[in-house]
């Protein structure tokens, strides 16, 4: 074993410190932490991805659709060795690869660039179709959206298509911090369910509950996990 092949990885407890290295604008602050536990559980226990496997066709794909407040994302990527911890301090500066919305061509491990809402889920549908068409049956596709992001109509084109298309490798996690406009109780899961998705709603801060929901079987159907966290306005 040589040092060169070692990857430094951190624990969940280190994430707060890593996020502290970045200073985002106020607007993105609260949104950033809502995704933290979801991202950690995905990267720590669910996704089959690694810093070395960037181009491996067999890797899982994680598409961060909700690009707002990406500090948690960058912190997790740094903790898992995808990007150097030293990059975090430059967050948002001209020479930094880490912007207030991520750019896939600049951030190692980022499958898509995002920021404009409602793009990740449709791209995830195409990614799932592309893997299926090539007989790559192993890789799973994940996308993270916000509850308010689902106000964008493009998501509903993707949701309505993916269920009947039986895209069972497609997974969506909705981080629900009650920030949608004109939301109705239970409305998020109901819409996915109506389109034929498998749905689970869990506490978005409970790692065991998240893990169980993320790994629940859902044969023949795409799967959505609604991860509820404290309201943005609280």
């Amino acid at each position: 074993m040589t040092d060169a092949t070692q990857t430094y990885t951190s624990a969940h407890a280190d994430l707060a410190g890593l996020m502290g290295l970045m200073t985002g604008d106020e607007k993105h602050g609260p949104a950033a932490t809502s995704t933290l536990d979801v991202l950690w559980v995905l990267y720590d226990r669910v996704l089959r991805v690694s810093p070395e496997g960037g181009d491996d066709p067999g890797r899982d794909r994680f598409l961060l659709s909700k690009g707002h407040g990406p500090m948690a994302y960058y912190a997790v990527l740094a903790a898992k060795g995808f990007l150097p911890v030293e990059w975090l301090a430059g967050f948002g500066s001209y020479d930094s690869p880490l912007g207030h919305h991520p750019d896939r061509t600049l951030v190692p491990g980022a499958e898509i660039g995002s920021g404009s809402l409602g793009h990740g889920l449709p791209i995830a549908v195409g990614t799932a179709l592309g893997l299926r068409a090539q007989g790559l049956d192993e890789p799973r596709v994940w996308t993270l959206v916000g509850d308010a992001e689902l106000d964008e109509g493009s998501n509903h084109e993707a949701i309505a298509f993916a269920g009947p298309a039986g895209l069972d490798r497609l997974h969506t996690v909705v981080v629900d911090n009650s920030s949608a406009t004109y939301a109705r109780p239970g409305g998020i899961a109901a819409r996915f369910e109506a389109a034929g998705w498998s749905t689970l709603t869990v506490d978005g801060r409970d790692h065991e509950a998240l893990y169980a929901a993320f790994t629940a079987p859902h044969p023949g159907r795409p799967h959505v996990v609604v991860a509820r966290v404290e309201p943005k306005s609280a």
């Binding site: 660039g113 793009h119 791209i123 195409g126 990614t127 799932a128 179709l129 592309g130 068409a133």
Partner: protein, 303 residues
């Protein structure tokens, strides 16, 4: 004569057979032509229904897994409606695709303005890195479709139209070709405008260039043509008038020159009717073109 669109499904179906990277993404339009190919390649022919944001988003996802998506619907719903997806899902993500449109500026005049897209090429001009093919004949469409699909992971737009010229010319997916040579002006005819331009310039002392690949714009060919024909240039385009004026100016930046951009007007006609009637209403029939071209070039143009 068959139309460019009649060639589309057969050509791309053959490409699906030949190249395992090729995938077709449709949005409820043009699906019949791919029924047989879809049976042979069920995973690589996808109809997302009437969902054009998903049409482009899904194509981007396919491209990110290494496939070469060919995406088709009417120009209005391919470029204009999901324009942000074209900008971000393809451009910003660096995902390549071949967008193939039908209906052009006014192929279906009875369908009205909702199905007209004279601004498609101008819109794509706000983005970086697009190749734009505007074939003028079904044979050229076939060649340019093959060229587009074979262009690695490039972003390529192929604009198919009912409007067409009587005869095909050899096209290479890159350069303009010289159809006629003169000394008193250069007329650039884009795609299906060639027949009308040749009729309009009959007996005039002008050089006629034929352009089927308009982006990148072959400024070098235009520059060369002006060396013998002078630097008065008329562009005749089947989409929004003036779309390529800036590109022509760039090609002639080192010489004093004049450019007249002819094409489809911005004003909504609010008329139905036939294709020929819309061609004439926009001043793109041979007689109107002759008047406008000779008016711009002045007395020296008549031989």
């Amino acid at each position: 004569m068959d139309t460019m669109r009649d060639r589309f499904a057969p050509v791309v179906s053959r490409l699906l057979d030949e190249d395992p990277r090729v995938a077709v993404v449709l949005a409820a339009i043009g699906t019949d032509g791919f029924a047989a190919a879809a049976r042979r390649h069920p995973g690589r022919v996808v109809d997302v229904g009437i969902r054009e944001q998903l049409l482009i988003g899904a194509a981007a996802g396919l491209a990110l897994t290494g496939l070469r998506p060919v995406v088709h619907t009417f120009a209005s719903f391919l470029v204009e409606r999901p324009f942000e997806q074209v900008k971000l899902d393809l451009g910003h993500q660096e995902a390549g695709a071949v967008l193939v449109s039908a209906a052009a500026s006014f192929d279906w005049p009875a369908g009205g303005y909702t199905h007209m897209a004279p601004g498609d090429v101008a819109l794509l001009d706000t983005l970086d890195g697009w190749t734009v093919h505007v074939p003028g004949h079904p044979d050229e469409a076939e060649t340019l479709l093959r060229h587009a699909v074979a262009a690695g992971d490039d972003k390529v737009y192929v604009r198919l139209s009912v409007q067409a010229n009587g005869q095909a010319l050899p096209v290479d997916g890159e350069r303009f070709c010289t159809v006629r040579e003169g000394r008193s002006g250069v007329v650039v005819a884009v795609g299906p405008m060639l027949d009308a331009v040749l009729a309009a310039t009959e007996g005039l002392d002008v050089t006629v260039l034929y352009a089927t690949t308009v982006r990148p714009f072959d400024g070098a060919a235009l520059r060369r043509a002006t060396e013998t024909a002078g630097t008065d240039v008329v562009l005749v385009e089947p989409y929004l008038a003036g779309t390529s004026t800036a590109a022509a100016n760039d090609g002639l930046a080192d010489v004093p020159h004049r450019v007249l951009g002819l094409g489809v007007g911005r004003r909504e006609l609010r008329r139905y009717g036939r294709l020929e009637e819309h061609v004439a209403a926009h001043g793109l029939d041979a007689r109107s073109l002759r008047e406008r071209i000779s008016g711009f070039l002045g007395a020296t143009v008549r031989v």
